[in-house]
């Protein structure tokens, strides 16, 4: 089977001249749970955003599911993004809207602007949204306002929203960085379950190595925009850890 993502010599430079990604090449196979690690500012988030093309690579080639998506725009770009669900550190829900509506917004890419802006979501879509809320175990909160939920619950709504896209790939940009340890595991377990049960490929940024060892099938480490490590979670030794995070770093456990 061909790789789901194939990045060749990918670089990204911000308008202010900061080079966030430098000549990055890697592939992601279907069904993988790839974790990207590295210090803040090492280019992890930028990498995520180039994959679903919220950012356009400055140079290099990005192939997704067999087609070159490096510089697509317009409808092609929208279709590309529809195939990729994304969740964020700060959940990014619409705070004042209900959990159900927030979930439905995952389907916006499939709807015409007029249809969706009038607020008409078909019964089928609502049914699907409720099913997805069921998967992340918060169906009973469907009518509550999003900001009345706890952080972990909000992140689960965000996962349900991403599931509305029936994604081939799920991008998770530091999904547990603003959650407490217990909640972190619950969110990671839902991602793991989606990966194993639905076969959805997951690319996830993480900070805690204990989580990496538990959930990742493969690890990429970024340092100053370059890949400095690629391999199995078990291969990250003390020495690699110092290499990735600097000599002063010590590992913090999260149980």
């Amino acid at each position: 089977m061909p790789p789901l993502i194939s990045a060749e010599h990918l670089s990204f430079e911000y308008p202010n001249g900061f080079k966030a990604l430098k000549n990055v090449s890697f592939t992601v196979e279907p069904g993988e749970f790839l974790v990207v690690i590295g210090l803040s500012g090492s280019g992890k988030s930028t990498l995520m955003r180039t994959i679903n093309r919220l950012l356009e690579p400055t140079s290099g080639t990005l192939t997704f599911h067999g087609s070159d998506v490096t510089h697509i725009e317009g409808d092609a770009l929208r279709r590309h993004r529809q195939k990729i669900g994304m969740i964020f550190q700060h959940f990014n829900l619409i705070k004042r809207h209900s959990v159900l509506r927030n979930t439905l917004y995952g389907a916006l890419g499939q709807l015409s602007s007029m249809q969706s802006m009038l607020g008409h979501f078909s019964p089928d879509l609502c049914e699907k949204a409720l099913r997805n809320l069921d998967i992340v175990g918060i169906r009973e909160k469907a009518d509550q306002r999003a900001d009345s939920l706890s952080g972990g619950q909000q992140q689960r709504v965000a996962i349900a929203r991403a599931l509305m896209q029936d994604p081939m790939l799920l991008l998770a940009d530091e999904p547990v960085a603003s959650l407490d340890p217990a909640t972190s595991h619950s969110v990671m377990k839902y991602l793991d379950r989606i990966n194993k049960e639905f076969g959805t490929t997951v690319v996830c940024n993480l900070h805690f190595l204990s989580l990496v060892r538990q959930y990742a099938t493969r690890v990429i480490a970024l340092k100053a925009g370059e890949i400095v490590f690629e391999g199995q979670p078990s291969e990250i030794t003390e020495q690699w850890f110092k290499e990735i995070y600097g000599d002063d770093a010590t590992e913090v456990e999260i149980r």
Binding site: L54, N92, K95, L108
Partner: protein, 335 residues
């Protein structure tokens, strides 16, 4: 280079400014006791001369006001003193010239006959004529409706325009940026013309009356609300925008589902406050024939019926105060 020219320009301005004030205001109106002298060759030479002297001295010795303003400091102690003194002289001359031009006259303020007249008016103001309360209330209602209609008509326009006047939504190409600049320019321009002046323009256009006053407020409200709305849009949390974009949503959908929900409450708050402001403005606009309570006030004032004027002033104060309290309460509740 650009900075050097700017510095030179500032020095020229200060020289010309000092010479002009002395030559055009202080000498003729204070020293020569209101003898106006023509601004002929000799006077022009004086103004240009001082401007050039300061500019040349400033750039040669670096005792320059331009340097003081642009760099915040001047190297060299006597150069610094000179530059500071030029700045102080300009300020002092401005105060002196301002005093002369405004015609400030303490004697007029405490003149016996004048005080008597003022006393009559104040006394009348405190003994309002309650007979006209009915018609005054009616005129007040007209003013409130006028302000309400102006706000209601302006809101849809402001709402639509504000998205095109928000930098963060219009930074994706040359055409959007042009639209942004154009809307910002037009709204800034129309806002810098006071509603009172718009009222004069519209009273010529559609005739004196509430309609002209309302149109004046509509123009001013559209530009003010567009500015406030668009600044709110520029302040939204970009996270939800990113999340909605990531689902493959169109640009319109992103704005509608992630920007609008974040703005609805602040927009409401701005709108209610604007209605409150418009009630006050409608009163003032009435003075130039915009209808409502203002027009009634100016009519009684013209007839020197001070007790009636007093009634109206008290009524205006009451209504403005009540509106202020109500709008503050609503805005507080919306938070």
């Amino acid at each position: 280079m650009k900075r050097h020219l700017l510095r030179l320009g500032i020095d020229v301005f200060f020289g010309a400014y000092i010479a002009t004030i002395i030559d055009r205001i202080l000498i003729p109106r204070v020293i020569l006791d209101n003898v106006t002298t023509p601004f002929d060759g000799m006077h022009q030479a004086l103004v240009i001369g001082l401007a050039l002297v300061l500019a040349v001295l400033g750039s040669v010795t670096s005792a320059s006001v331009g340097r003081l303003i642009l760099d915040g400091s001047v190297s060299g102690s006597w150069q610094r003193t000179v530059a500071m003194n030029i700045a102080w002289i300009s300020f002092t001359l401005t105060v002196l010239a301002g005093w002369v031009v405004t015609g400030i006259s303490p004697s007029a303020l405490f003149n016996g006959q004048g005080l008597e007249g003022a006393g009559r008016i104040f006394k009348a103001l405190f003994t309002p004529n309650t007979d006209i309360i009915g018609s005054a209330l009616l005129a007040m209602v007209e003013t409130i409706y006028l302000a309400f209609m102006a706000t209601a008509i302006a809101v849809p326009f402001s709402f639509a325009l504000s998205f095109f006047a928000a930098r963060n939504l219009m930074d994706h190409g040359a055409i959007p940026r042009t639209i942004y600049v154009a809307i910002r320019f037009v709204t800034n321009f129309t806002r810098s013309i006071e509603p009172l002046i718009w009222a004069i323009i519209f009273s010529v256009w559609v005739g004196i009356g509430p309609f002209a006053g309302m149109l004046a407020l509509v123009v001013h409200t559209i530009s003010s609300l567009t500015k406030q709305y668009s600044e709110q849009i520029e302040d939204v949390d970009t996270g939800p925008m990113e999340a909605i974009s990531a689902t493959g949503a169109s640009r319109t959908q992103v704005v509608w589902f992630s920007v609008v929900p974040q703005c609805v409450i602040p927009f409401l708050s701005f709108t209610i406050y604007r209605w409150d402001i418009n009630v006050r403005m409608a009163t003032v606009i009435g003075l130039v024939g915009g209808g409502g309570i203002g027009t009634m006030l100016i009519q009684y004032q013209g007839l020197a019926q001070w007790r009636e004027v007093g009634t109206i002033v008290i009524l205006i104060a009451l209504v403005v105060w009540i509106m202020d309290v109500i709008s503050a309460r609503i805005r507080e509740a919306l938070k």
